[in-house]
Each structure stands twice: as C-alpha cells, then as structure tokens.
C-alpha cells in the first residue's frame, strides 16, 4: 500500500509543475472599457430606433441589436474568446436547443384551427386555454372616471 503511494507520489514529482498551472491572457482594462462603450452605444441605438415606427422591422432590429450585445458580453466579458472550445460548444448547444423549443412550439401555436394537408385533419382551434391569459375580452376604462377621481383627490388636498 505504502509502496503504491510512493510510486504515485513519484509520478507527481516528475510531472512538470509549470505545465499544470493556470495560464490566462490578462486583457488590458481598456479592452473592457471599449466593449462597455459599444454596449452602451447599442443600447442607445435600440432605444432610439424603438421611438421610430418601422412596423415589423422594430422587433427584428431589437433582436439583432440584442444579439450583437449578447455576443459582445459572451465573447469578451465571459471570456469565451479565450476559453476552452468545449465550453463554446456547450453555450451554442444550449442556444440550438432553445431554437428547437421555439420552432416546434410556434409550429403548433401558429397553426391552430388550420387545415393540415399532410394529415388531412384540422388542427384543434383552441388547444388548452392558456392559464396566463385570464382575459378573453377587451377591458374599457372610463377616462372621465379616472380624471374625476383625480379631481376629488385634488380637492381633498
């Protein structure tokens, strides 16, 4: 037993310590300042563009800008650029499966009540009522009632 341990220790003694140390490239702080500046600029761009009416393009642009920002955070702040490639694969793997989740779900929810040619059936119109919906009809508030309440409150003061 003790001999085995000695042999084991012997192996350790032979292994080059410098090879086992953690080596990372320490980036200059200015790199991170530049990334932060880019993130702020992209945030202001996305806020600015949201004030302009571009129809469906608004959502598309918001997704693209957010993805650029997320890419900068993941690449530089989360060090994926210098990281073990396997961690990069993990990260994109989870995104891939998010995509599968999105596409398959939307393929159901966007085709409810439609005729399905390939199966010769109609897709169920409603499916299960969504628990979060909680409101089947429009709610109309009386704008005067609101102002009236404010007016009364003002009188009390």
């Amino acid at each position: 037993m003790s001999t085995a341990h000695n042999d084991h220790s012997h192996d350790h003694a032979h292994s080059d310590e410098s090879h086992g140390a953690v080596h990372v490239h320490v980036h200059p702080a200015s790199t991170y300042y530049k990334i932060f500046a880019a993130l702020v600029i992209f945030t202001l761009i996305t806020v600015g563009l949201s004030r302009i009416h571009l129809g469906d393009w608004n959502f598309f642009i918001a997704v693209v800008v957010a993805t650029i920002k997320a890419g900068l955070v993941a690449t530089y702040f989360m060090h994926l650029k210098d990281d073990n490639r396997f961690n990069v694969v993990l990260f994109f793997g989870s995104l891939l499966f998010m995509g599968v989740f999105f596409v398959y779900t939307m393929n159901d929810t966007q085709h409810r009540g439609q005729w399905d040619d390939s199966y010769g059936t109609r897709v169920s119109a409603d499916g299960e009522p969504a628990p979060g919906r909680g409101q089947a009809d429009a709610i109309k508030l009386d704008p005067n009632a609101g102002q009236g309440a404010h007016g009364e409150a003002a009188e009390h003061h």
Binding site: A130, R133, L141
Partner: protein, 230 residues
C-alpha cells in the same frame, strides 16, 4: 491501512498548492473542470429562461395589439436606466476578475462592491416600477384589473393580462437571479478579504462573474422585448 491513506493525502497536499483539491492533478485541470461545471449550469439557465421567452413569443403572436398596449404601460426610461446599470455592473465584474488575475486584492473587493451596489440600484428601480404596476392594477393573469386614471391606455385588448403575466414572471425570475447574485458576490468579497485568493487562484471570482454576466445577458433580451415594443 487508514493511517497509510491519511499519509497519502498529506503527501498529495505537499505536491501542489493549498488551493488544489486532492482529486485534481494540476491547477489547470481543476480550473477547467470548474469552468466546465459553470458553463453546464449556465447552459441550464438559458434553457430555463427559454420557457419564459417561448411564452413571450407565443402570446405576442396571438395578441400583438395587447403586447403593444401592455408595453406602453411600462416606463422605458426606467428600463433604459436599469439596462445601463446592469451593463456597468458587468464591466465592474469583469474588471474584478482581471484584478484577481493580477493579484490586486484591494481592487477586487472595491470592484465587487461596486457591482453589488449596481445590483441594489437595479432592484430599487424595479421596486418603483412594480409599485406603479400594483397601484394601476396591471397585474398578471386574472388579477389584471386596470385602474382608471393610473394607466396610459383606456382600452386593453384581450391578452393584455397575458402580457403582464409574462412581464412579472420574466422580470421576477430575473430579479430573483439578481438577489442571488448579490449573495454570491458578497460571499466573494468575504473570501477575498480573508485572503483566500491569489494571482494563481481566483476561480470562484471568475465563476461568480460568469453568473453575473448571464444575468446581464438575459436582461439584454428582456429589456427590448418588454419595454421597447412599437
């Protein structure tokens, strides 16, 4: 027998730095294993949040008008401030890791405390937003009962309640992550002050920073999706 193995463990300790756990051969192996574990956790986090994003997309496709009306009830200025606060906290978090890599203990503590301060600012802004939504009756699901005079819109199309369900779930779960983040960041401050980290060993700070960046990453999507709908 038991004495022999105990000696064996002590032997192990002599062959590596104190921070090296006995089941790892080298610090580099330990570092890679820790990072892999953290990335697995982060991948799980992304999949966890993806459920909320799917709910968002499905309801948005079903009730585009409700999404527009609901979004306009949110304060985009507060959302923008919170986005900038979180981005800045991500900067200070990554700078804390950098200082840890250089063995600058005092700077690490300072930068972690700034990150924590940003997290608190974020939660305070969120508190005021939530308070307004509660007063206006803009609540999730069947609690949705808008109060006249407290809202921008006077007509709420079907599904506006669903918008606030998604809003509260997404920002609530994200806010919970911010609170947990404050906890683990404080933990790092304490361990750093105890002198547990050196320029050869700063893995825990790196992992906590990764978590904090993920919280930022989620918000990068939540912000335009909730606050900036045309």
């Amino acid at each position: 027998m038991s004495e022999a193995s105990a000696d064996g463990h002590e032997d192990h300790g002599h062959h590596g730095p104190a921070f090296l756990a006995h089941h790892f051969t080298t610090p580099a192996q330990q570092f890679d294993a820790a990072k892999l574990g953290m990335w697995l956790f982060l991948a799980q986090e992304l999949l966890f949040f993806s459920g909320l994003f799917v709910a968002y997309l499905v309801f948005r496709m079903w009730y585009p008008d409700a999404w527009s009306v609901g979004s306009h009830e949110l304060d985009w200025k507060m959302g923008t401030v919170n986005t900038l606060v979180l981005l800045f906290s991500s900067l200070t978090a990554v700078l804390a890791v950098r200082s840890a890599q250089l063995g600058e203990r005092g700077k690490v503590t300072m930068l972690l405390l700034v990150t924590i301060a940003c997290a608190f600012i974020f939660l305070v802004v969120k508190y005021f937003e939530y308070q307004h939504k509660f007063e206006a009756g803009l609540l999730p699901g069947h609690y949705f009962a808008p109060v006249a005079g407290h809202t921008h819109a006077n007509v709420f199309p079907p599904g506006t309640a669903a918008f606030f369900s998604v809003y509260f779930m997404a920002t609530g779960v994200h806010g919970l992550h911010v609170i947990i983040g404050i906890g683990v960041l404080f933990w790092m401050v304490i361990r750093n002050q105890k002198g547990e980290f050196t320029k050869d060993f700063w893995t825990p700070i790196d992992l906590v920073a990764l978590y904090w960046h993920l919280v930022d990453l989620i918000w990068i999507y939540l912000f335009p999706f909730l606050y900036l709908i045309d």
